[in-house]
C-alpha cells in the first residue's frame, strides 16, 4: 500500500504545532507518522507515549512522531521501509521553509506520494508579514504553493477582518482554497485520509465548529465512468471544495480500480497499486467531496458531475469485470 504524505507549512507561530498535536492526539484510527523539526515543538501527552527510541517516539494509539534530524529524506526513507509502516505521513516544514521544496521529499521513495501541501496562515499577522524584509518573500511563497490554506487565529480578529484577509488572499493567490480554523487543530480531520487511504471517509464529521464550516456531498454511481469527463470535472471543481476522495471504475481500464485524491488545488486520479477487492463493491464508483458549508452548492455539483457517467456499460466489459472479480 502506498503512503500519502501531507506537508504542513506556514510561518512561525501560525499554528502548525497546534495542528500536529491535534493529529497525534486524535488520529481518527489512522496509523499516523508525524515528522517534526524538533520534539520540543510538539507537546505529546506523556500518558500517550509508549516508547522513545532516539529520533522516534511511539504512541499508544499506534502513531509515531519522528524528528527530522539532519536528513528529512533519510527519516522518510526509514518510515517507508518500516514493516509496520504508517498509513499516512505528515511532515512539518520549518517556519521559513518553502513547502514546495519540502514536498519534493514526499515522493522520495517508491511507496510515498504527495497528498497535499497545507499552509497555516495567521489571520492576524499574515498581511503585514509579507512585507517583512527578511521573510516576506517566503511567507508569500508559502501561500502561493499551498494546496489548501488554513487561516488560523480568526477568533482573535473581527469578522470583517477575516473577510478582508480572505479577499486579500484571493487577490494575492488567485486560485487559493481557504478554510478558516480559529484554532489550527480544527482542520486536522480534513487532512487524514482514512485507514489505508482508501476507505471512503467522512460519513460522519465531528460536530461543533467543524460541522458548521464543512459539509459533504457524495457521488455514487454503478457502472464505469468516463475518465476524461471526470478529469475535466475535477479540474473545474469550485474553490469551495477543499477535500475529496474517491474510488472509481473508469471505462478506459474497467478491470482496475482508480483512486481520486484531492487536497485543495492538488488532485490525482491514479490506478490503485494494490487491489483489495473486499473493500469496494465492484462495478461501483464513489466520490465524496468536503466543502465549505456556506459556499458548497449541491445542485451545481450534481450538474457538474452529470457528464461523467457512461450511460450503458457494454456487456463485454461487464462480463470481463465479473470474470476478473470472481474467477
Amino acid at each position: 500500500m502506498n503512503i500519502p504524505v501531507t506537508v504542513i507549512g506556514g510561518y512561525l507561530g501560525a499554528g502548525k504545532t497546534t495542528l500536529l498535536n491535534r493529529l497525534l492526539a486524535h488520529p481518527q484510527g489512522v496509523r499516523l507518522a508525524v515528522v517534526v523539526n524538533d520534539f520540543g515543538s510538539v507537546n505529546i501527552d506523556a500518558a500517550l507515549i509508549a516508547n522513545r527510541d532516539g529520533e522516534t517516539i511511539s504512541l499508544t494509539n499506534g502513531c509515531v512522531c519522528c524528528s527530522i534530524g539532519d536528513n528529512l529524506a533519510l527519516a522518510l526513507y526509514d518510515l517507508a521501509e518500516r514493516p509496520d509502516g504508517p498509513e499516512h505521513i505528515v511532515v512539518e516544514a520549518s517556519g521559513v521553509a518553502d513547502p514546495a521544496r519540502i514536498a519534493g521529499y514526499a515522493a522520495s521513495h517508491p511507496r510515498l506520494f504527495l497528498d497535499g501541501i497545507v499552509v497555516v496562515a495567521d489571520a492576524e499577522t499574515v498581511r503585514a508579514r509579507v512585507h517583512d524584509a527578511y521573510v516576506g518573500d517566503l511567507v508569500r511563497r508559502q501561500l502561493e504553493t499551498a494546496d489548501l490554506i488554513a487561516l488560523s487565529k480568526t477568533d482573535l480578529v473581527d469578522a470583517k477582518t477575516v473577510q478582508q484577509v480572505q479577499e486579500w488572499i484571493s487577490v494575492e493567490v488567485p486560485d487559493a482554497r481557504v478554510v478558516t480554523a480559529p484554532r489550527a487543530g480544527q482542520v486536522a480531520d480534513l487532512l487524514l485520509s482514512g485507514p489505508g487511504g482508501h476507505a471512503v471517509l467522512y460519513d460522519a464529521l465531528p460536530g461543533g465548529e467543524h460541522a458548521r464550516q464543512f459539509m459533504t456531498w457524495s457521488f455514487v454511481r454503478g457502472g464505469v465512468l468516463d475518465g476524461d469527463a471526470l478529469r475535466t470535472v475535477i479540474a473545474a471543481l469550485p474553490a469551495a471544495v477543499v477535500r475529496a476522495k474517491g474510488v472509481v471504475r473508469l471505462a478506459e481500464a474497467p478491470d482496475r480500480r482508480f483512486v481520486l485524491q484531492l487536497v485543495g488545488r492538488r488532485w490525482s486520479l491514479e490506478p490503485d497499486h494494490v487491489e483489495n477487492r473486499d473493500t469496494v463493491v465492484p462495478d461501483r464508483s464513489v466520490i465524496v467531496c468536503i466543502g465549505l458549508a456556506d459556499q458548497l452548492e449541491p445542485e451545481r455539483l450534481e450538474a457538474l458531475f452529470a457528464p461523467v457517467s457512461v450511460a450503458v456499460v457494454p456487456r463485454a466489459v461487464k462480463a470481463l469485470l465479473q470474470g476478473v472479480e470472481r474467477p
Partner: protein, 550 residues
C-alpha cells in the same frame, strides 16, 4: 624533566611576528618554541640536535584551514574522486581534474576495470559539470558507457546533485519515484541526474549507504588530516556538522587524533546545525569543553543562516539573484536566530555563523547588535563563515561589534565566472570576499576552502585572496586584492585568532607551539601568481616532522 632540544635550520624563517620578522633557526623543546633567531641565539639554551633537513627551505607558521568539513575525509574513504578540479588525495597523489564528460567516462572505465566484485557499486565524488569545459549535464547514457550492469553513483562536490547510470536507476526503482529532483527526458525516463537529497536518497540507500548517517570510521579522520597536511596544513577546522556530543563518535575522534601519527590539529566547532534547540547546543558545548586532547579541541558553536550562492539558496539583499530577482532560503527564521544568538552570547559562547549572502550577514550582524545591547561582551570573537557579499557598511558595523570573518576566497577562483554570469552579475561578482576592505577597517579576516566544496590548500586560498583571478583569468575587484603578507597572515595568525588559539599557534614566537609549514620557496617573494604552485616539503607539528610525498 624537560625533553631534548632540536634546532631546525632554514633558508629563511618567516615568523609573522613583528618583533622578529625573519630568522634562520628555531629551537624547539617539548613541542614548544624556545628561541627564534640565528643558530648562536638558539644555542644559548644548551645541548641540542641540529636538524638541517630543511636548511634550504622556507619555514612559515603552520598553515590553518579555518573552515572545512570532516565529510571530505569520509568521501576519500568511501568514494573515488573524479571531479573537474585538481585534488591531492590523502597519500599526496595528484588527481588531475576531469574537465569533460569523455575524460570522466575514460577514467571511470579504468576505475571500473579495477573492481573485482562484479556486483560492487562504483561510487565517485567531486563531479561538477558547471566547472567543465562544456557545461553539459552528465546523463545515464554517459555512465552506461562505463557499465550497464554495475551500479554507478557520482556525488557532486556540492553534495546537492548526484548522477547515476541505468543499473542504479533500476536497482533503486526510480520508475516509481516521482520526486521532482529526479530529472526526466522527453520520454519521461530519468536522465540519471538526481537533484537534492529528496531525489538522491533511494540511490544512496541502494548503492552508497555508507555516505549517510554518522560514521565512526577512523579512516575519515586520518584522510581529513592527511589531505590537508600534504598541502601544508597544521591546524584544520571541522566546521560544525559532526556529532561529537555522541559518545561513540567522540570516542572515535579521540582515538584517531590521540595517535602520535595524527598529522594535524583539529579545531571542531560545536554542532548548532543539526541540534534544534539552543539550550541543547549550549549544554553540549559546555560538556565538550576540555574533553579533547592535544590535537582535538572544541571551540565555538556553528549555526547556519542560509544556503549556498552557487546553489541559489544564499539569502541576498535586494535585488536578489541575477535576472530572476529570486531570493534564497533561510536555514532558521531570523526571529528564531535572534533568540539563539542572544542566548549563546549571554552564555559566554563564541558564535560561528554561516552567512553566505549579504542578507544573511545582515541578519546576523543585527542579532549580535541586539545581543550586545542586552549584555555587552568584549572579545567574544563571534565570526561569520563565508560572508561573500559583505559590504563596507556591514564591515564597519562588524568592526564596532567585534565580529570577524573567514572569507571564501577560493570561490572567486572556481566560481567567479559562474557568479558573474549566473548568480550575481558583474558588480556583485567583483565585490565578493572583500578582504582588503575588511582588513583596512580593522575586521580580522581569514580565508578558507570549505572542503569538500573546494580543495583544502591554504596556499591556493592565499593566492586566491592575493590575485582575485577566475579560472578564465579575469581579475575581479582588483582593489580587494590583499598583499602576500596580508594573505599569509589570513592563513596563519588571523585564523588562529578567530579560533581563540592565537596564544599558541598562528605565528612563530617564543612560547608558542612548534607548528611550522615547510615550503620550497618564499611565498612573500615569489611572483604573486606563483604562490599556489609552491611545493610543500613537509610540516612540523609540535616539533615532530611530517614529510610530504610531493
Amino acid at each position: 624533566m624537560p625533553g631534548p632540544i632540536t634546532i631546525f635550520s632554514a633558508r629563511k624563517i618567516i615568523t609573522m611576528d613583528p618583533a622578529v620578522e625573519e630568522a634562520t633557526h628555531v629551537a624547539v623543546r617539548d613541542g614548544i618554541i624556545l628561541e627564534v633567531g640565528t643558530l648562536n641565539e638558539c644555542a644559548v639554551w644548551g645541548d641540542h640536535t641540529l636538524d638541517d633537513r630543511f636548511g634550504d627551505s622556507i619555514l612559515i607558521p603552520g598553515l590553518i584551514e579555518s573552515h572545512a568539513h570532516l565529510l571530505d575525509g569520509l568521501l576519500w574513504a568511501k568514494a573515488e574522486y573524479v571531479g573537474p578540479i585538481d585534488r591531492r588525495d590523502p597519500s599526496g597523489k595528484l588527481h588531475k581534474g576531469l574537465a569533460s564528460i569523455p575524460a570522466l567516462v575514460k577514467r571511470l572505465k579504468e576505475v571500473e576495470a579495477a573492481i573485482s566484485d562484479p556486483t560492487a557499486p562504483l561510487v565517485g565524488w567531486g563531479v561538477d559539470p558547471s566547472l567543465n569545459d562544456l557545461p553539459d549535464p552528465i546523463t545515464r547514457h554517459d555512465l552506461d558507457q562505463v557499465s550497464k550492469t554495475r551500479p554507478i553513483f557520482l556525488l557532486a562536490a556540492s553534495c546537492h546533485i548526484a548522477y547515476v547510470n541505468s543499473a542504479t536507476l533500476e536497482l533503486a526503482n526510480y520508475a516509481a519515484i516521482k520526486a521532482p529532483g529526479v530529472l526526466r527526458d522527453a520520454s519521461g525516463a530519468p536522465t540519471g541526474e538526481l537533484q537534492e537529497m529528496a531525489a538522491m536518497m533511494a540511490a544512496i540507500k541502494a548503492v552508497a549507504s555508507n555516505l549517510v548517517g554518522a560514521s565512526t570510521d577512523a579512516e575519515q579522520f586520518f584522510n581529513f588530516a592527511k589531505v590537508a597536511q600534504v598541502r601544508g596544513v597544521t591546524t584544520i577546522v571541522d566546521g560544525g556538522g559532526s556529532t561529537y556530543f555522541e559518545p561513540a563518535f567522540l570516542q572515535a575522534a579521540l582515538a584517531a587524533t590521540g595517535s602520535p601519527d595524527f598529522p594535524v590539529r583539529i579545531v571542531a566547532h560545536n554542532n548548532g546545525i543539526t541540534v534544534p534547540k539552543v539550550e541543547d547546543m549550549i549544554e553540549a558545548a559546555t560538556m565538550l569543553r576540555g574533553k579533547g586532547n592535544d590535537k582535538l579541541v572544541f571551540q565555538g558553536i556553528k549555526i547556519l543562516l542560509d544556503g549556498s550562492n552557487q546553489g541559489f539558496t544564499g539569502r541576498l539583499r535586494p535585488p536578489g539573484y541575477l535576472r530572476t530577482g529570486a531570493n534564497g532560503l533561510w536555514n532558521r527564521a531570523p526571529e528564531e536566530l535572534r533568540r539563539i544568538v542572544s542566548a549563546m552570547h549571554a552564555a559566554g559562547m563564541q558564535i560561528v555563523a554561516h552567512c553566505n549572502a549579504d542578507q544573511a550577514s545582515e541578519a546576523f550582524i543585527e542579532a549580535v547588535a541586539a545581543a550586545q545591547a542586552e549584555k555587552p561582551r568584549f572579545d567574544h570573537r563571534h565570526f561569520i563563515v563565508h560572508g561573500q557579499l559583505l559590504n563596507e557598511s556591514q564591515l564597519r558595523r562588524m568592526a564596532t561589534l567585534g565580529i570577524s570573518a573567514t572569507l571564501f576566497s577560493n570561490h572567486m577562483y572556481y566560481w567567479g565566472d559562474f557568479h558573474r554570469t549566473h548568480t550575481f552579475g558583474a558588480f556583485r561578482a567583483a565585490a565578493m570576499n572583500p578582504a582588503a576592505t575588511a582588513l583596512r577597517l580593522g575586521v580580522i579576516v581569514a580565508a578558507h576552502s570549505d572542503t569538500p566544496v573546494s580543495p583544502v590548500d591554504p596556499l591556493l586560498t592565499m593566492w586566491a585572496a592575493v590575485n582575485r583571478v577566475t579560472t578564465t583569468g579575469r581579475v575581479q575587484g582588483p582593489r580587494e586584492r590583499v598583499s602576500a603578507y596580508e594573505g599569509l597572515r589570513m592563513m596563519t595568525y588571523n585564523a588562529a585568532w578567530l579560533l581563540h588559539r592565537d596564544h599558541e599557534i598562528g605565528s612563530i614566537r617564543v612560547g608558542k607551539r612548534a607548528d611550522f609549514t615547510v615550503l620550497a620557496h618564499d611565498p612573500l617573494a615569489v611572483e604573486p601568481m606563483a604562490i599556489k604552485d609552491i611545493p610543500v616539503r613537509g610540516t612540523i607539528l609540535g616539533g615532530r616532522v611530517f614529510p610530504t610525498a610531493g
